[in-house]
Amino acid sequence: MTNWLTKIRFINQLSQLKQVNWYRLNRNLHRDVGYFCIGFTLIFAISGIAVNHVADWNPNYAMTQVNLEVDDNSWTDLSDAAIAQLMLQRHQLTQEVKSTFWQNKHQFDVFLEGGSTLSWNRRAHQVSYLHVEPRVLLQALNKLHLNETRNAWVYFSDLFAAMLIFLALSALFMVKGKHGLKQPKPIILMSLGFIIPIYFLFTAQ
Protein backbone atom coordinates (compact mmCIF):
# COMPACT_ATOMS: atom_id res chain seq x y z
CA MET A 1 0.00 0.00 0.00
CA THR A 2 2.74 2.46 1.04
CA ASN A 3 4.60 1.50 -2.12
CA TRP A 4 1.60 2.58 -4.22
CA LEU A 5 1.31 5.86 -2.29
CA THR A 6 4.98 6.67 -2.95
CA LYS A 7 4.48 6.04 -6.68
CA ILE A 8 1.41 8.30 -6.78
CA ARG A 9 3.31 11.08 -4.98
CA PHE A 10 6.19 10.76 -7.43
CA ILE A 11 3.84 11.00 -10.42
CA ASN A 12 2.22 14.08 -8.84
CA GLN A 13 5.61 15.73 -8.38
CA LEU A 14 6.48 14.98 -12.00
CA SER A 15 3.29 16.56 -13.23
CA GLN A 16 4.01 19.63 -11.07
CA LEU A 17 7.46 19.88 -12.63
CA LYS A 18 5.85 19.79 -16.07
CA GLN A 19 3.76 22.79 -15.11
CA VAL A 20 6.90 24.88 -14.36
CA ASN A 21 7.61 27.40 -17.09
CA TRP A 22 11.30 26.52 -17.60
CA TYR A 23 11.74 29.16 -20.26
CA ARG A 24 10.56 31.92 -17.92
CA LEU A 25 12.52 30.50 -14.95
CA ASN A 26 15.72 30.46 -17.04
CA ARG A 27 15.18 34.06 -18.18
CA ASN A 28 14.50 35.22 -14.61
CA LEU A 29 17.53 33.44 -13.23
CA HIS A 30 19.71 34.75 -16.06
CA ARG A 31 18.49 38.29 -15.33
CA ASP A 32 19.05 38.10 -11.54
CA VAL A 33 22.42 36.35 -11.72
CA GLY A 34 23.36 38.96 -14.33
CA TYR A 35 22.54 41.79 -11.93
CA PHE A 36 24.58 40.11 -9.20
CA CYS A 37 27.55 39.71 -11.54
CA ILE A 38 27.76 43.36 -12.65
CA GLY A 39 30.14 44.36 -9.83
CA PHE A 40 32.33 41.26 -10.19
CA THR A 41 32.47 41.66 -13.97
CA LEU A 42 33.53 45.30 -13.80
CA ILE A 43 36.27 44.47 -11.25
CA PHE A 44 37.69 41.64 -13.33
CA ALA A 45 37.25 43.37 -16.69
CA ILE A 46 38.79 46.74 -15.73
CA SER A 47 41.74 45.22 -13.88
CA GLY A 48 42.05 42.63 -16.67
CA ILE A 49 42.65 45.39 -19.23
CA ALA A 50 45.10 47.10 -16.85
CA VAL A 51 47.08 43.93 -16.10
CA ASN A 52 47.03 42.85 -19.76
CA HIS A 53 49.11 45.90 -20.67
CA VAL A 54 51.52 45.71 -17.75
CA ALA A 55 54.50 45.57 -20.14
CA ASP A 56 53.67 49.04 -21.51
CA TRP A 57 51.95 50.69 -18.59
CA ASN A 58 52.14 50.44 -14.81
CA PRO A 59 48.61 49.66 -13.58
CA ASN A 60 49.44 50.10 -9.88
CA TYR A 61 51.51 53.29 -9.75
CA ALA A 62 51.77 56.57 -11.65
CA MET A 63 55.47 57.41 -11.79
CA THR A 64 56.96 60.74 -12.77
CA GLN A 65 60.65 61.59 -12.88
CA VAL A 66 62.24 65.03 -12.67
CA ASN A 67 65.98 65.38 -13.35
CA LEU A 68 68.06 68.32 -12.15
CA GLU A 69 71.67 69.13 -12.98
CA VAL A 70 73.63 69.87 -9.78
CA ASP A 71 77.01 71.28 -8.87
CA ASP A 72 78.12 68.33 -6.76
CA ASN A 73 81.90 68.84 -6.68
CA SER A 74 81.97 69.34 -2.92
CA TRP A 75 79.47 66.55 -2.12
CA THR A 76 81.98 63.70 -2.05
CA ASP A 77 83.40 64.92 1.27
CA LEU A 78 80.01 65.01 2.97
CA SER A 79 78.22 62.39 5.05
CA ASP A 80 75.33 60.41 3.52
CA ALA A 81 72.83 62.33 5.68
CA ALA A 82 74.21 65.69 4.53
CA ILE A 83 74.12 64.62 0.86
CA ALA A 84 70.50 63.49 1.33
CA GLN A 85 69.58 66.93 2.72
CA LEU A 86 71.23 68.70 -0.22
CA MET A 87 69.34 66.46 -2.65
CA LEU A 88 66.06 67.29 -0.92
CA GLN A 89 66.87 71.01 -1.04
CA ARG A 90 67.65 70.91 -4.77
CA HIS A 91 64.22 69.48 -5.46
CA GLN A 92 62.56 71.69 -2.82
CA LEU A 93 61.16 68.67 -1.01
CA THR A 94 60.21 68.48 2.64
CA GLN A 95 59.45 64.77 2.87
CA GLU A 96 60.99 62.66 5.60
CA VAL A 97 63.99 60.49 4.68
CA LYS A 98 63.41 56.80 5.46
CA SER A 99 66.88 55.54 4.59
CA THR A 100 69.72 55.87 2.10
CA PHE A 101 71.73 53.39 0.04
CA TRP A 102 74.66 53.40 -2.37
CA GLN A 103 73.44 51.21 -5.26
CA ASN A 104 76.96 51.35 -6.68
CA LYS A 105 79.88 53.79 -6.50
CA HIS A 106 78.12 56.15 -8.92
CA GLN A 107 74.56 56.10 -7.60
CA PHE A 108 73.29 57.18 -4.19
CA ASP A 109 69.59 56.67 -3.42
CA VAL A 110 67.50 58.42 -0.80
CA PHE A 111 64.20 56.74 0.04
CA LEU A 112 61.33 59.00 1.04
CA GLU A 113 58.00 58.38 2.74
CA GLY A 114 55.41 57.01 0.31
CA GLY A 115 57.86 55.16 -1.95
CA SER A 116 59.36 58.13 -3.83
CA THR A 117 63.13 58.13 -4.40
CA LEU A 118 65.87 60.68 -4.96
CA SER A 119 68.89 59.40 -6.90
CA TRP A 120 72.20 61.14 -7.22
CA ASN A 121 74.10 60.14 -10.33
CA ARG A 122 77.67 61.18 -9.71
CA ARG A 123 78.72 60.69 -13.32
CA ALA A 124 75.94 62.76 -14.81
CA HIS A 125 76.02 65.32 -11.95
CA GLN A 126 72.30 64.85 -11.75
CA VAL A 127 69.73 64.36 -8.99
CA SER A 128 66.55 62.61 -10.12
CA TYR A 129 63.32 62.63 -8.22
CA LEU A 130 61.08 59.66 -8.92
CA HIS A 131 57.64 60.42 -7.59
CA VAL A 132 55.42 57.41 -7.01
CA GLU A 133 51.68 57.87 -6.74
CA PRO A 134 49.55 54.76 -6.19
CA ARG A 135 46.56 54.37 -8.53
CA VAL A 136 44.33 53.64 -5.55
CA LEU A 137 41.21 52.34 -7.30
CA LEU A 138 43.03 50.31 -9.97
CA GLN A 139 45.41 48.94 -7.34
CA ALA A 140 42.44 47.71 -5.29
CA LEU A 141 40.79 46.14 -8.35
CA ASN A 142 44.05 44.45 -9.36
CA LYS A 143 44.47 43.19 -5.84
CA LEU A 144 41.12 41.45 -6.08
CA HIS A 145 41.70 40.21 -9.65
CA LEU A 146 45.10 38.72 -8.86
CA ASN A 147 43.67 37.19 -5.72
CA GLU A 148 46.17 38.82 -3.37
CA THR A 149 43.60 38.95 -0.60
CA ARG A 150 43.21 35.12 -0.58
CA ASN A 151 40.90 33.82 2.19
CA ALA A 152 37.17 34.05 1.44
CA TRP A 153 37.76 35.90 -1.84
CA VAL A 154 38.89 32.57 -3.35
CA TYR A 155 35.38 31.19 -2.77
CA PHE A 156 33.72 34.35 -4.10
CA SER A 157 35.89 34.15 -7.23
CA ASP A 158 34.90 30.50 -7.70
CA LEU A 159 31.26 31.46 -7.23
CA PHE A 160 31.66 34.20 -9.84
CA ALA A 161 33.23 31.72 -12.27
CA ALA A 162 30.32 29.31 -11.70
CA MET A 163 27.83 32.12 -12.30
CA LEU A 164 29.59 33.06 -15.55
CA ILE A 165 29.25 29.45 -16.70
CA PHE A 166 25.56 29.58 -15.82
CA LEU A 167 25.12 32.89 -17.68
CA ALA A 168 26.84 31.44 -20.76
CA LEU A 169 24.77 28.24 -20.79
CA SER A 170 21.46 29.83 -19.84
CA ALA A 171 21.96 32.36 -22.64
CA LEU A 172 21.52 29.47 -25.08
CA PHE A 173 17.88 29.12 -24.04
CA MET A 174 16.95 32.78 -23.71
CA VAL A 175 15.50 33.43 -27.14
CA LYS A 176 13.13 31.40 -29.28
CA GLY A 177 12.07 31.79 -32.90
CA LYS A 178 13.96 33.56 -35.65
CA HIS A 179 16.80 34.60 -33.30
CA GLY A 180 16.85 31.22 -31.53
CA LEU A 181 19.72 28.85 -31.07
CA LYS A 182 19.09 26.83 -34.26
CA GLN A 183 19.43 29.81 -36.60
CA PRO A 184 22.68 30.38 -38.58
CA LYS A 185 23.61 33.68 -36.86
CA PRO A 186 23.75 32.30 -33.28
CA ILE A 187 25.62 29.23 -34.49
CA ILE A 188 28.22 31.37 -36.31
CA LEU A 189 28.64 33.74 -33.36
CA MET A 190 28.91 30.87 -30.89
CA SER A 191 31.44 29.05 -33.10
CA LEU A 192 33.59 32.19 -33.27
CA GLY A 193 33.82 32.12 -29.47
CA PHE A 194 35.56 28.76 -29.75
CA ILE A 195 37.43 29.23 -33.05
CA ILE A 196 39.20 32.50 -32.08
CA PRO A 197 40.84 31.10 -28.88
CA ILE A 198 41.76 27.88 -30.72
CA TYR A 199 43.34 29.92 -33.54
CA PHE A 200 45.53 31.81 -31.03
CA LEU A 201 46.38 28.57 -29.28
CA PHE A 202 47.71 27.02 -32.48
CA THR A 203 49.44 30.11 -33.84
CA ALA A 204 51.12 30.96 -30.50
CA GLN A 205 54.83 30.20 -30.49
Partner: protein, 156 residues
Protein backbone atom coordinates in the same frame (compact mmCIF):
# COMPACT_ATOMS: atom_id res chain seq x y z
CA UNK B 1 20.44 54.10 -5.32
CA UNK B 2 19.47 54.84 -1.73
CA UNK B 3 21.66 56.70 0.74
CA UNK B 4 22.13 53.55 2.86
CA UNK B 5 23.23 51.49 -0.15
CA UNK B 6 25.74 54.16 -1.17
CA UNK B 7 27.16 54.27 2.37
CA UNK B 8 27.50 50.47 2.47
CA UNK B 9 29.39 50.53 -0.83
CA UNK B 10 31.72 53.27 0.42
CA UNK B 11 32.35 51.32 3.63
CA UNK B 12 33.28 48.17 1.70
CA UNK B 13 35.63 50.11 -0.59
CA UNK B 14 37.31 51.92 2.29
CA UNK B 15 37.98 48.60 4.05
CA UNK B 16 39.82 47.41 0.92
CA UNK B 17 41.95 50.57 0.82
CA UNK B 18 42.67 50.43 4.55
CA UNK B 19 44.08 46.90 4.11
CA UNK B 20 46.39 48.22 1.39
CA UNK B 21 47.92 50.80 3.74
CA UNK B 22 48.60 48.63 6.79
CA UNK B 23 51.72 49.61 8.77
CA UNK B 24 53.61 46.35 9.22
CA UNK B 25 53.16 44.06 6.26
CA UNK B 26 53.39 40.29 6.51
CA UNK B 27 53.41 37.85 3.62
CA UNK B 28 53.28 34.05 3.62
CA UNK B 29 54.24 32.12 6.72
CA UNK B 30 55.94 33.57 9.79
CA UNK B 31 59.60 34.52 9.46
CA UNK B 32 62.14 32.57 11.52
CA UNK B 33 64.55 35.03 13.22
CA UNK B 34 66.62 32.13 14.62
CA UNK B 35 67.86 31.43 11.05
CA UNK B 36 69.11 35.01 10.56
CA UNK B 37 72.33 35.15 8.53
CA UNK B 38 74.03 38.36 7.31
CA UNK B 39 73.66 38.85 3.56
CA UNK B 40 77.41 39.38 3.25
CA UNK B 41 78.06 35.96 4.85
CA UNK B 42 75.64 34.30 2.41
CA UNK B 43 77.08 36.07 -0.62
CA UNK B 44 80.66 35.24 0.41
CA UNK B 45 79.97 31.53 -0.10
CA UNK B 46 76.46 31.20 -1.52
CA UNK B 47 76.91 27.60 -2.64
CA UNK B 48 76.87 26.55 1.03
CA UNK B 49 73.36 27.96 1.51
CA UNK B 50 71.67 26.81 -1.70
CA UNK B 51 68.35 25.03 -1.01
CA UNK B 52 68.75 25.55 2.74
CA UNK B 53 66.34 27.59 4.86
CA UNK B 54 67.78 30.97 5.81
CA UNK B 55 66.55 34.31 7.09
CA UNK B 56 67.92 37.66 5.94
CA UNK B 57 67.32 41.18 7.14
CA UNK B 58 68.04 44.54 5.55
CA UNK B 59 66.75 47.69 3.91
CA UNK B 60 64.59 47.31 0.81
CA UNK B 61 66.44 49.22 -1.90
CA UNK B 62 64.53 48.21 -5.05
CA UNK B 63 61.05 46.85 -5.69
CA UNK B 64 59.47 45.50 -8.87
CA UNK B 65 57.17 48.38 -9.80
CA UNK B 66 54.88 46.49 -12.16
CA UNK B 67 54.08 43.23 -10.44
CA UNK B 68 55.67 43.60 -6.99
CA UNK B 69 57.26 40.18 -7.50
CA UNK B 70 60.78 40.99 -6.28
CA UNK B 71 62.68 43.21 -3.87
CA UNK B 72 66.38 43.85 -3.46
CA UNK B 73 67.58 43.74 0.14
CA UNK B 74 70.70 45.71 1.04
CA UNK B 75 73.58 43.74 2.43
CA UNK B 76 75.65 44.80 5.41
CA UNK B 77 78.47 45.08 2.85
CA UNK B 78 78.71 48.17 0.62
CA UNK B 79 77.11 47.99 -2.88
CA UNK B 80 75.85 44.45 -2.24
CA UNK B 81 72.23 43.29 -2.41
CA UNK B 82 70.29 40.03 -2.43
CA UNK B 83 67.08 39.67 -4.39
CA UNK B 84 63.92 38.17 -2.92
CA UNK B 85 61.85 36.70 -5.76
CA UNK B 86 58.40 35.15 -5.82
CA UNK B 87 56.23 33.88 -8.65
CA UNK B 88 53.76 36.53 -9.86
CA UNK B 89 50.94 36.99 -7.38
CA UNK B 90 52.29 34.69 -4.65
CA UNK B 91 53.30 37.78 -2.66
CA UNK B 92 52.94 41.33 -3.95
CA UNK B 93 55.47 43.76 -2.48
CA UNK B 94 54.39 47.42 -2.55
CA UNK B 95 56.69 50.08 -4.01
CA UNK B 96 56.05 52.16 -0.88
CA UNK B 97 58.14 49.56 1.02
CA UNK B 98 61.33 51.00 -0.52
CA UNK B 99 63.60 52.24 2.24
CA UNK B 100 61.94 50.16 4.95
CA UNK B 101 63.51 47.22 6.78
CA UNK B 102 62.46 43.71 5.76
CA UNK B 103 63.07 40.32 7.25
CA UNK B 104 62.57 37.27 5.05
CA UNK B 105 62.81 33.52 5.50
CA UNK B 106 63.19 31.19 2.55
CA UNK B 107 65.61 29.10 0.55
CA UNK B 108 68.50 30.35 -1.53
CA UNK B 109 68.19 29.51 -5.21
CA UNK B 110 71.07 29.38 -7.70
CA UNK B 111 70.33 30.60 -11.24
CA UNK B 112 72.92 29.29 -13.69
CA UNK B 113 73.23 31.13 -17.00
CA UNK B 114 75.07 30.13 -20.16
CA UNK B 115 77.75 32.42 -21.59
CA UNK B 116 75.43 34.16 -24.04
CA UNK B 117 72.84 34.96 -21.36
CA UNK B 118 75.62 36.02 -18.95
CA UNK B 119 76.82 38.58 -21.52
CA UNK B 120 73.27 39.87 -22.00
CA UNK B 121 72.74 40.29 -18.26
CA UNK B 122 76.10 41.98 -17.72
CA UNK B 123 75.43 44.28 -20.68
CA UNK B 124 72.09 45.23 -19.12
CA UNK B 125 73.67 46.03 -15.75
CA UNK B 126 76.49 48.00 -17.40
CA UNK B 127 73.92 50.06 -19.33
CA UNK B 128 71.95 50.66 -16.13
CA UNK B 129 75.07 51.95 -14.41
CA UNK B 130 76.10 54.02 -17.43
CA UNK B 131 79.30 52.04 -18.00
CA UNK B 132 80.73 50.82 -21.28
CA UNK B 133 80.66 47.08 -21.83
CA UNK B 134 82.69 44.74 -24.01
CA UNK B 135 80.97 41.31 -24.41
CA UNK B 136 84.35 39.74 -25.18
CA UNK B 137 85.49 40.58 -21.63
CA UNK B 138 83.04 37.96 -20.31
CA UNK B 139 84.55 34.53 -20.82
CA UNK B 140 82.76 32.45 -18.20
CA UNK B 141 79.10 31.79 -17.49
CA UNK B 142 77.83 33.11 -14.20
CA UNK B 143 75.53 31.98 -11.43
CA UNK B 144 73.19 34.42 -9.68
CA UNK B 145 71.54 33.83 -6.33
CA UNK B 146 68.14 34.83 -5.05
CA UNK B 147 66.02 34.07 -2.03
CA UNK B 148 62.70 32.35 -2.67
CA UNK B 149 60.76 33.34 0.45
CA UNK B 150 58.18 31.43 2.42
CA UNK B 151 57.58 34.37 4.73
CA UNK B 152 58.37 38.09 4.58
CA UNK B 153 57.80 40.85 7.11
CA UNK B 154 58.16 44.47 6.09
CA UNK B 155 58.76 46.28 9.33
CA UNK B 156 57.23 49.61 10.27
Amino acid sequence: MTYKTAMLGALLLSSVFNCAHAKELNFGTQVQPELLTPVSTIMASPQQYVDKPITIKGTIVKVCTKRGCWMNIASDKRFETLRIKVKDGVMVFPVSAKGREAIATGTLQALKFNLERTREIKAYYAKEEGESFDPASVTEPMTMYQLVPTGVSILD
